[in-house]
Amino acid sequence: MNEKAEELNRVEKKDLFGSGHRACGGCGQALAARLVHDAAGENTIACVATGCLEVFSSPYPDPCWRIPFLHSLFENPAAVASGVEAAYKALKKGPVNIIAQAGDGSTADIGFQCISGMFERGHNVLYVCYDNEAYMNTGVQRSSFTPYGAWTSTTPMGNPTRKKNLPLIAADHGIPYVATATVDDFRDLQRKVKTALSIEGPKYIHILVPCPLGWGHPGELTVKICRLAKDTGLFPIFEIIDGKVTNVKKIPVKVPVEEYLKPQGRFRFLFKKGVPTEKVAEIQEIANQNIERFNL
């Protein structure tokens, strides 16, 4: 392996998103935040949205960040990061990694306009979405990333709509780099962060982060559930470089969606006495479509 590839594939542990945060045990988002910032390194500014990440990492006077951290509101980290980037340019400072980051609710719903603006204007910012498929900080309400059929506190009969596909929408802005990742594969996630940060312009990384509390699974299953999300085809792993889908992660052995759904409380009511209802077949169909579309 040459030096660059070696560096890209090295798993970094620097504790820049340090210990002492107050996330629940098994929180996928806390793990993702650590991996993202350790990959990015010290020369990084984190622009964070209101949400679980902000709340469990930055109470006054004990934030757990060892890199500069900027939080203002729920829906504006992309615009705030645009401003930080503009300031660095104007003051002729840098280079510096600027990472705007938010949950799925901030990203897909209320902050969507700010993100689109940041992509379209071409700021040199990496946007990371921690997708736990609901508004967790306010108690598990539905977002437009909530998957079909899932229970949330505002979809008590199961979410009637499908997940918005932001990676593809992001790519359609013409940005140079888009990737999806999960927290079970440290090397892959960190390689994507490093790759993104080596590219000039706006970048988008979408990370699936299981939430034991909101999804209703034991904390120790977080990593396993990520694997199942991938192996069922429900969460495809790929990169989009300059508009072309590449590096699609092939599923070694395809797993029926039931195995992903069953350990999670939010899907429990899709099974009547252990027997899958019609909705499970519909979810299987979504997985099949992904498998076909991305050639998983």
Binding site: Y60, P63, H71, S72, L91
Partner: protein, 391 residues
Amino acid sequence: MLKQIEGSQAVADVVALCRPNVISAYPITPQTHIVEDLSVIVGQGKLDAEFVNVESEFSAASVVLGASAAGARAYTATSSQGLLLMAEVIYCIAGMRLPIVLTCANRAISAPLSIWNDQQDSMAVRDAGWIQLFAEDNQEAADLHIQAYKIAEQTFLPVMVCMDGFILTHAFEPVDIPEQKEVDDFLPPFKPRHIVDPRWPRGIGLYADPRFYMETRYILHRAMEKSEKTIKEVSADFAKTFGRDSGGFIKTYKLEDADVAIVSMGSVVGTIKDLIDQLEEEGKKVGLLQICSYRPFPRQEIYNVLKDKMNIVVLEKCISLGRGGILASDIRWSFPRAEKKDRNISSFIAGLGGRNITVDDLRHMVERIEKEPVELEFLGLKKELIADKDL
């Protein structure tokens, strides 16, 4: 140099002389010309700044927030719906003590949609922790921006310079635009306190639980109160350097021996002064108290100049619906309780949605309050347009 220019151009020219590093704004009438003019100045390379063309006022405010937190001198401008869309960020900027300067080209608020002038927009965010300075004319509007940066960067409070939409922004008047060197001498480079920079890793914008939140608001309130000193000093310093009075806390016109005191702010004071001169010729003593700094509110100054006035009338281009005059409440509050009894403080709402305020309207107002105090009246209201059931 004296130039015959549009108010917006004057503001853009002067803002450029303040050398902001980052400018971000979104078009809305009547603010638009200011940022158009600035984009030309930046585009022609006359100002070395980043001009960020955003997709909304919400993002404009967020961009300048981020830029300021990264150590840049930042500028934005807006009006009306734009300011309301920014509202969440406006509060945040103040809470984070970021010394941003914003021009509010004052305009009415929907619904019904109206692009014309009044001051309901800046009033809607009066409690946000921003210093609010109201300009009388275009010279003052221009001058206030130079002062605004100095005040903001000394106090770490954001400053909103309010100028009446159209009446000022679109009016061509002679305005003295200072030389770059004069502004550079007056306004030192921005020295930020806390910035996001990997060399000094620290967090900005942590959340505060009930053990800590209240103190942050107390400190912000005290900072607003204490900014009085800075506002006055900067205005005095400005007068010394540039040879003209602008800004400060309050201004008066023929108030000292007046029997009737009119209190107001913004461009309408020009019309009020005309009336005062006319009435003087007719043998009536009417004076003006002009509020320049609306926030912080110059309570003590107001008391000092009004304490002997028994007949006061407040004229304002805004209203707290269901409550009445906003400035009027502030003025009524400026006197100790025991003193209020025989003092008449009348309240007139005027000019909403760009309704003209004429000298005759104002004359009618003074005549009305000479007869009896007026709790609340809409000046120039067309009763014939209102159905009986709505009266």
